[in-house]
């Protein structure tokens, strides 16, 4: 049976309570994309899993804002664990996406060179891709590039076509992973920050802000807080998170017609650089920047940076000059002092840390989950995988596939009304997002599940109706009270 606890945290003094919130084979700490994927894999393997998330909903950390690209790994570090997890994650995603109703936008990517110097780096990129087993890259001259993407600035020098770089839905994917974990016996507990814990030689007793949780194994998927969690519970951390912010500007859907592919810059050692990419929701976005910062949760945007991004995008695709802006956002990469993933195992204490999953975690999450399973089995864990796992579906939010409002006559009867006009979100979609296996736990969670208020008007027309429809649902609601007078 599935059990989902989503009681709002009011007290933090449950730690003395003798009764446990949950007992499981494995506790997964963190409801980012990595934690959700790990919970799914282990649940499918027949383990009893409990996912502990400190926020009221999943995806409040690094997984909140990314570029949503499903990477082939053509430019990943050679022979790295990252490359392996990206490759495996990529393949598993393509295997399972249809059954979970997750979309793929088969855009392909162009690595675009704008200077001779960048063209000179192409040889290295092609060699690396070859080594990584991505063999379908093609070098294009300016004419060929502009034939594929006529709206690109004609100052393009050359490009490499990477046909199998795709775009996915960054929020529905992890949601689907966690849903599948819960549909197959897993548990998720929200508002449950893991504060401390003890290992008694065979089991962990974790103290969360909601109470105790007992588990044989612990997987630390705390993303931006992974090092702190290790320090608190293990006494030391083998790495330090160096938060690195990336800001984005999202153009109106009209921009989507201008470009087909993901336009990548020639990457440097430090960053993949500023990308111009179609989103699964039908927009075109530019970003991310790479800004080191102290804060692990300050995802603020900055006027000058946004202006710079806008200028860069217009330089590459001049027609963007006439396209309005829909949104701006930022995400924070859980980078560490080293470039590679920081997978740390404490075999004597049944603990695995998936740390520093910096800039490819959306793609690699399913691969990381496979890797964790292997590590646990090496540690002696034995599970019996489910013979007929439940496969729950998530609602489609992709613009190129059928949305709720478009379902053909008969079925569409009863969608209630369109609540958010810019993103065409129906009342039925809102109600569904507030129910089910993983109901929205916050305003942001509702937006990520439905797209409501994420379009052009940013809530001008629909926020009032949403306030009404979500009354009493969230600790931090749309409306703070009644109007009087």
């Amino acid at each position: 049976m599935t059990k989902l606890l989503n009681i709002k945290s009011t007290t933090k003094d449950n730690s003395n309570s003798p009764s446990l919130l949950a007992t499981a084979d494995v506790a997964v700490i963190g409801g980012g994309v990595v934690g959700c994927a790990v919970a799914r894999r282990l649940a499918l393997e027949g383990a009893s899993v409990v996912l502990l998330e400190k926020a009221a909903d999943i995806l409040g950390g690094a997984s909140k804002g990314n570029s949503a690209i499903l990477h082939t790994g053509f430019d990943a570090p050679i022979d790295s664990l990252e490359m392996e997890c990206v490759r495996n994650g990529y393949h598993e995603y393509l295997q399972i996406h249809k059954s979970l109703n997750l979309p793929v936008l088969k855009t392909g990517a162009l690595v675009a060179a704008w200077t001779e110097e960048e063209v000179e780096r192409f040889a290295g990129i092609l060699a690396k891709a070859q080594h990584n087993g991505i063999e379908d890259l093609r070098l294009l001259n300016p004419e060929e590039t502009l034939k594929l993407e006529p709206k690109l600035s004609s100052s393009i020098r050359a490009a490499i076509l990477v046909p199998r770089e795709f775009v996915i839905d960054p929020w529905s994917a992890p949601l689907a992973y966690l849903k599948q974990a819960l549909a197959n016996g897993g548990q998720a507990i929200f508002n449950a920050e893991v504060l401390s814990g003890d290992f008694d030689g065979s089991n962990w007793l974790l103290q969360t802000s909601r109470g105790g949780v007992k588990a044989k194994y612990v997987i630390n998927c705390a993303g931006l807080y992974g090092d702190l969690l290790d320090r608190n519970l293990l006494g030391e951390s083998k790495f330090t998170i160096k938060p690195r912010k990336g800001q984005f500007v999202v153009f109106d859907k009209a921009a989507n017609a201008l470009i087909q592919a993901i336009i990548l810059p020639v990457p440097t050692e430090r960053t993949k650089g500023i990308v111009i990419f179609p989103t699964i929701f039908g927009n075109l976005a530019v970003g991310p920047t790479a800004e080191e910062q102290e804060s692990r949760n300050d995802a603020s945007v900055h006027k000058n940076t946004l202006n710079d991004l806008h200028t860069q995008a217009v330089n590459r695709i001049p027609a963007l000059a006439n396209i309005p802006i829909t949104a701006t956002y930022a995400g924070i990469r859980p980078a560490s002092e080293k470039k590679e993933y920081r997978i740390v195992e404490d075999v004597s204490r049944n603990w695995i840390t998936l740390g520093g999953i910096r800039s490819t975690g959306l793609t690699s999450a399913l691969g990381l989950a496979q890797h964790v399973l292997g590590l646990l089995e090496n540690q002696g864990a034995e599970f019996e995988s489910l013979s007929e796992p439940v496969v729950p579906q998530v609602p489609n939010l992709a613009e190129h596939l059928q949305r709720d409002w478009e379902t053909h006559s008969g079925h569409s009867a009863g969608y209630g009304e369109i609540v958010c006009h810019c993103e065409m979100v129906t009342q039925r979609e809102i109600s569904n997002a507030l129910e089910g296996l993983v109901p929205a736990g916050s305003v942001d969670g509702l937006k990520r599940r439905t797209r409501a208020t994420m379009g052009r008007c940013q809530g001008f027309y629909c926020a009032a109706r949403l306030a009404e429809l979500t009354e009493g649902r969230f600790e931090e609601p749309f409306a703070v009270g009644k109007a009087h007078g």
Binding site: K303, H310, C457, F460, A463
Partner: protein, 338 residues
């Protein structure tokens, strides 16, 4: 309402049931046009005035001073009495050639074929994101339209002590709405040396005890879950923090014209309005546009009397003017059909 219009033909289809669309519909019926259908995506007709809970509306139209909601109701009644068909919860999703409209309603998708189409989808304010304002994306950031619809349609408030940005006419609507709802703004901000509208800004801000900060701009919005403070910079570049629980962005209008942008009709990139001739006709002669969705390029804009010409924002017409424009374009449609 009569759903029989769907998958059907009509003489004139009007998109949007605000003052402009309804005024046009009424005039068309009075002029003997047979089948006039108004398509409205909301559950209620009337457009923006539905949530402007204050006077003065209706002076020109009804020779009376009404609040926005009463005015909207009266317009709708007049239209229905004149024989206008108003179809609610029905969104126009695309504009085809030869007046072929794609619609969607809770009953499903449908088509409507019109001899003439009048676009009257109105205007909205520019949200924080498109203004590239720095800072957190916490709760409590909205526009006047959101505030008004929360207060007047849903009896709720999005914040208790917001910072108000802008000094256009709608900014005073915002102050009035705050006053009515028991919201006390902490300050009103204007980047320019003078407010956009002189009267009644000085009086109103004084009456409501809202400090008016001129030559002041937002540097950063602070707050994790909800807005906690805003850093502002004055004319000398001095930055200070103002505690507040929200930011209300007012004005900086932009036409609700995405339907046009995605269609075969020509759009003026400067104003985001459909390109129209002096008869209100779009680049496809079957289509007309009116009301606030039609903004003139800056150099041709009519200057409302209480605006200072030198610091004109995108000017916007009041409901009465939209009503007049709707009628004027409707007359052109009548001539065109006969």
């Amino acid at each position: 309402m009569d759903k029989s219009v769907l998958n059907d033909n009509c003489d004139v289809a009007i998109i949007g049931s605000g003052p402009a669309g309804l005024a046009a519909a009424i005039l068309l019926k009075y002029s003997g046009i047979q089948k006039v259908v108004v398509l409205e995506r909301e559950a209620e007709a009337g457009g923006i005035p539905r949530h402007c809970g204050h006077p003065p509306f209706g002076i020109r139209e009804f020779k009376r001073i009404l609040t926005g909601p009463k005015y909207a109701k009266k317009l709708v009644e007049t239209a229905l009495n004149a024989g206008v068909e108003i179809v609610l919860k029905t969104t126009v999703t695309s504009l085809g050639t030869e007046g072929e409209l794609s619609l969607v309603s809770p009953e499903g998708p449908s088509q409507l074929s019109a001899k003439r189409v009048l676009l009257a989808t109105g205007i909205r304010e520019t949200p924080r994101s498109a203004r590239f304002v720095s800072g957190s994306r916490a709760l409590g950031i909205c526009t006047t339209g959101t505030l008004q619809s929360m207060v007047y349609l849903k009896n709720r408030i999005p914040f208790r002590s917001p910072l108000v940005v802008g000094t256009e006419i709608v900014s005073f609507s915002a102050l009035l709405t705050c006053k009515n709802a028991g919201i006390q703004p902490v300050a009103m901000l204007e980047e320019k040396p003078q407010p956009h509208v002189r009267w009644p800004i000085y009086q109103l801000t004084r009456w409501f005890c809202v400090p008016l900060l001129l030559q002041t701009s937002i540097v950063n919005i602070l707050g994790t879950e909800r807005v906690e403070a805003v850093q502002v910079s004055d004319e000398n570049g001095n930055v200070r923090e103002i505690a507040c629980d929200g930011v209300l962005f007012t004005g900086q209008y932009t036409p609700e014209s995405s339907l046009v942008r995605e269609s075969h009709l020509e759009l003026d990139p400067e104003t985001n309005s459909p390109v129209v001739d002096s008869f209100g006709r779009c680049s496809d002669p079957v289509y007309f546009a009116t009301g606030n969705m039609v903004q003139l390029p800056r150099n041709q804009a009519r200057v409302p009397i209480f605006y200072l010409a030198e610091n004109l924002p995108n000017p916007v017409d009041d409901a009465g003017q939209c009503w007049s424009q709707g009628r004027a374009v409707a007359k052109n449609i009548v001539k065109d059909l006969n």
